[in-house]
């Protein structure tokens, strides 16, 4: 008896939580920490879901967001998209069921975890007790059906409770959700909701967002490109990225009747010939039924994968934004004096997961961020087109950009330069460091690719800045010409005691030439000056104290330079 009093009362004390109950107790795991961050995460979840849905259906995303302030830290958010809509029977599953969603496939998409939308509804309910209101218009055969629903989350059972429902007349597909939030805060800070939208537009120039902020001001972020991004294909896992446990799960879920067909149909780069090689190497009978696969066999097969050479994973699963689109996005939002972009070729990390690095650099205009009335440089990190707003410190992108010796590219004081650096990593499996998916693990291959991409952009900026400087000097010289030559001619005439000649026409020609140069037309003797500048650069010393070698502006030479770096 005494023992029972001090010990655990199993029946009383042992509890089983639903995922919703768990996350109600641990909302920081969903990224809901802090008033500003919480609201930004809500924007993030709703926008990424709308984008994914629209693009999957080949629709150019068009989102309409309205944030109304009801009271201090109390807001109503209305978020409307033009996607394919959600069939009525799935609406409450999407918005009220944790761990449910369509994002668990091996496909490049913004969402991955099936938590986001339900998390927003949970936060709304926890802070205001108000129900969610959703209008969904979706195709049912050739018809467009519409439904208007009001529901709450039943946290104890991880599902929705319908409160009201009516048919809704609609012409086009799409979803509109209305949620209320308290204890959140709208901010123009770098980590606030407005900046999140701005960055989203740079990474998604094919989208259109209309945003009415709490002060009633309406921002229209126009579409900079009219093409729906090619829809990424679902990619089969590459053998190099598969574990024994993965293989067991494949064997459990396959429709194939033999190991052989299971393997060729469940993984990429896996031909009958490769399966035969594996059979020879491991001695495993590949005609057995997948359901009978043992963990030992799975381990032997995976061990064999590790020793084999495979073609890199297919890259049609990876759809970059594209240099041209990034440029459009940056021009639209930043109106810069100079912009340059790059999309690298697909490569792999961790032995078999392919990824693509894209980068853009904008200088001048509205590039950079205004801090204390001064324009500073800013870094915009993206993964699969989604802006990464928090936890910058340990991110591969931050690490790569910090490791670059910017002085080498003529940027003496990077921090105080009106510069926006954009980096996007595209992968079916972005190696996020944290559960909030806000920073990318600094895998060596990823850091290398980011460095290479950014250094190329920096080199181009350097050329631009040099040309600008040279033009300025020319302008100065021509000004001297224009102002002093008449004086000299007149004084010379006086000294020579002759009349002043008709010099205006000749002088105009010379200054016109100077003007043309100013406007960027190439003039021969420019080259000499550039080479001189190069020569100066050549003697600069890099961060390791070595004299920086000549990296002439030709791309081929630069490539050699890259490879040298690789060997370090």
């Amino acid at each position: 008896m005494v023992q029972q009093e001090i010990g655990l009362d199993w029946e009383e004390d042992f509890q089983r939580l639903t995922p919703s109950q768990f996350f109600r107790k641990n909302k920081q795991m969903l990224g809901f920490t802090g008033k500003i961050r919480s609201l930004t995460i809500v924007f993030h979840e709703l926008i990424t879901n709308s984008f994914d849905a629209a693009e999957e259906s080949g629709i150019l995303p068009d989102i309409d967001i309205e944030l109304k302030r009801i009271d201090k830290e109390h807001y109503i958010l209305r978020h409307k998209d033009n996607g394919p809509g959600i069939p009525e029977e799935y609406v409450m599953q999407v918005y009220c069921m944790m761990f449910a969603g369509s994002k668990f496939r091996n496909i490049q998409s913004r969402g991955q975890q099936g938590l986001g939308c339900s998390g927003c509804v949970l936060l709304s309910q926890m802070t205001t007790g108000k129900p969610a209101r959703v209008i969904s218009c979706y195709k049912d055969g050739d018809e467009i059906k519409g439904v208007k629903m009001k529901f709450q989350m039943d946290v104890e059972n991880n599902r929705g409770i319908l409160m009201e429902r009516e048919d809704y007349e609609c012409g086009e597909t799409g979803v509109c959700i209305e949620l209320q939030f308290k204890d959140v805060s709208y901010s123009l800070a770098e980590q606030g909701a407005f900046e999140y939208i701005r960055r989203t537009m740079i990474g998604n120039p094919h989208a259109r967002i209309t945003f009415r902020d709490p002060s009633g001001h309406k921002y229209i972020f126009k579409r900079a490109a009219n093409i729906v991004p090619v829809q990424p294909k679902e990619v089969l896992p590459h053998p190099k990225g598969v574990s024994a446990d993965d293989l067991m799960t494949m064997a459990k879920n396959t429709d194939s009747r033999r190991y052989k067909s299971m393997m060729t149909s469940s993984m990429s780069r896996m031909s009958n010939k490769r399966v035969d090689e594996i059979a020879a190497e491991t001695g495993i009978d590949m005609n057995k039924r997948p359901k009978d696969m043992t963990f030992q066999e799975a381990e032997a097969i995976v061990h064999c994968f590790k020793k084999m050479k495979f073609m890199a994973p297919p890259t049609d699963g990876l759809i970059p934004i594209g240099s041209e689109q990034i440029e459009k996005g940056m021009k639209q939002i930043l109106k810069p004096e100079f912009v340059t972009t790059i999309t690298r070729k697909p490569v792999t990390y961790a032995g078999g997961v392919s990824f693509i690095i894209e980068a853009g650099l904008a200088y001048g205009g509205e590039a950079g961020r205004i801090v204390n009335e001064q324009r500073k440089s800013e870094i915009m990190r993206f993964a699969n087109r989604v802006p990464l707003t928090f936890d910058a410190g340990s991110c591969a992108i931050t690490e790569a950009l910090k490791s670059i010796d910017w002085k080498r590219y003529g940027l003496k004081d990077l921090d105080n330069t009106p510069l926006t650096l954009f980096v996007n990593i595209i992968s079916t499996q972005v190696p996020y460091l944290s559960t909030g998916k806000q920073s990318v693990s600094p895998e060596p291959e990823i850091v290398h690719e980011i460095r290479q991409a950014t250094m190329k952009l920096a080199r181009k900026l350097q050329k631009h800045l040099r040309a600008k400087k040279a033009a300025k000097e020319k302008e100065k010289r021509s000004k001297v010409f224009e102002e002093y030559v008449p004086v000299i001619i007149e004084e010379a005439a006086k000294l020579g005691e002759t009349g002043v000649p008709e010099y205006q026409e000749v002088l105009a020609k010379v200054t016109k030439r100077a003007l043309a140069e100013l406007l960027g037309e190439k003039v021969d003797d420019d080259e000499t000056e550039e080479e001189e500048l190069d020569a100066i650069i050549m003697e600069e010393v890099d961060e390791h104290g070595r004299v920086v070698e000549d990296n002439n502006s030709s791309l081929d030479n630069f490539k050699e330079d890259e490879e040298e770096e690789l060997d370090e």
Copy 2:
């Protein structure tokens, strides 16, 4: 038709995952990242669970761990405790069901999330495909029952699948679990499993751990204290820490029939008188049935809480380790030359969550860590007696210790000092920064308490070091005496042309005195010297460039100094 092909196939693509499936895909969320860290997290989960269980039943924890290496990065772990055991019907729920456990009460315990044990079984299964083997011996009335089980986790259904079961004859209660792991690594590094045990023993001197490492070496970490820690009581939530959503959940789950009784029985510091005040303030009828509570009412009540003054939360829910116990633990493990410890009074953060800071400082002996054959200082962070091993950077403990001006306490080069700093935060609600529960949020009140505790310890170390220095000088002086006095006497005798007197006995007395001083006995004229040293300290300048004021060794004076700091 075409639309359907490019759009989402809801029936096919929409999936619902169990918590186990979710964490199989996201094992980094359980802390399983990296080979060394993964194994440390396994040790952490099993040890903390055993400790919690034993203490809840008033048992002094005695754990027996054996880690056998089968192959490179392939281990068998056997973990046996002397706790109360787990009744047979709960064994597979504890080890195979995510989000299930007894840790969801408002009680100071090491675990909080009901994920740990199942996470270990999941990792074992994912990396080896091997089942878990458990022997559980538990009390059933007056009888001790025993069962031996072999089971797997059914990830698709978030439960266990029993493979074998037999009765087991046992004399005492306890649980023994055997798991296999691959792709993990045993390491002696600071973040490795061995160091985790060592630190655990400092925070839990009442425990005993026997550990046989992969090389077969057996370590016995002896119990330094024979008292089971007082079991913390479950504390009712304090009104200042309750949200409207919490109040709604209380109202939903209460047995009370009126708001009034529901409130007094669900929260601490909530008397009938307080409820009447709230009724008067809000106009809410406190005789209504809790099931009828609206969110608006809950909000009004919580709003009222915020404006009211309440007594601080009761602190009998907080059980610190205690200064004496920490000292025992540090002496046992570090065998230091000098040790000092402190337990501060309970205070609150965030308006209503109480916590206690405890700290210890060990100097010399085996304190600190050997890095490149040199002893360096080390920081041991704990929360509710559990060592925090990762993510030190942003932790309140790291921040507080770094902010201290160590030079002020005579430590010119802290890094290269053989010093161990121990800090433990006790709270029913430790504000962890990350999901892996490895760092504490730097709340200002917490940082302040850690600083105060540590500065007191540093002051004591300073006194010790001064005394030691003084003793050394005395020893030097007495050595001079011993060596030169005979020579002087003999030479003087020669000069005076007399015989050498019997000086040996007198000299021995003098040197004996010097020896005694060396051993720490107080001698009067010591004081003068200490004061001189104090005078020197007085003129030191602190990190803000101000002359550091006299903080004489009296505790009261030091307290004034503290309060000044608070005002800064």
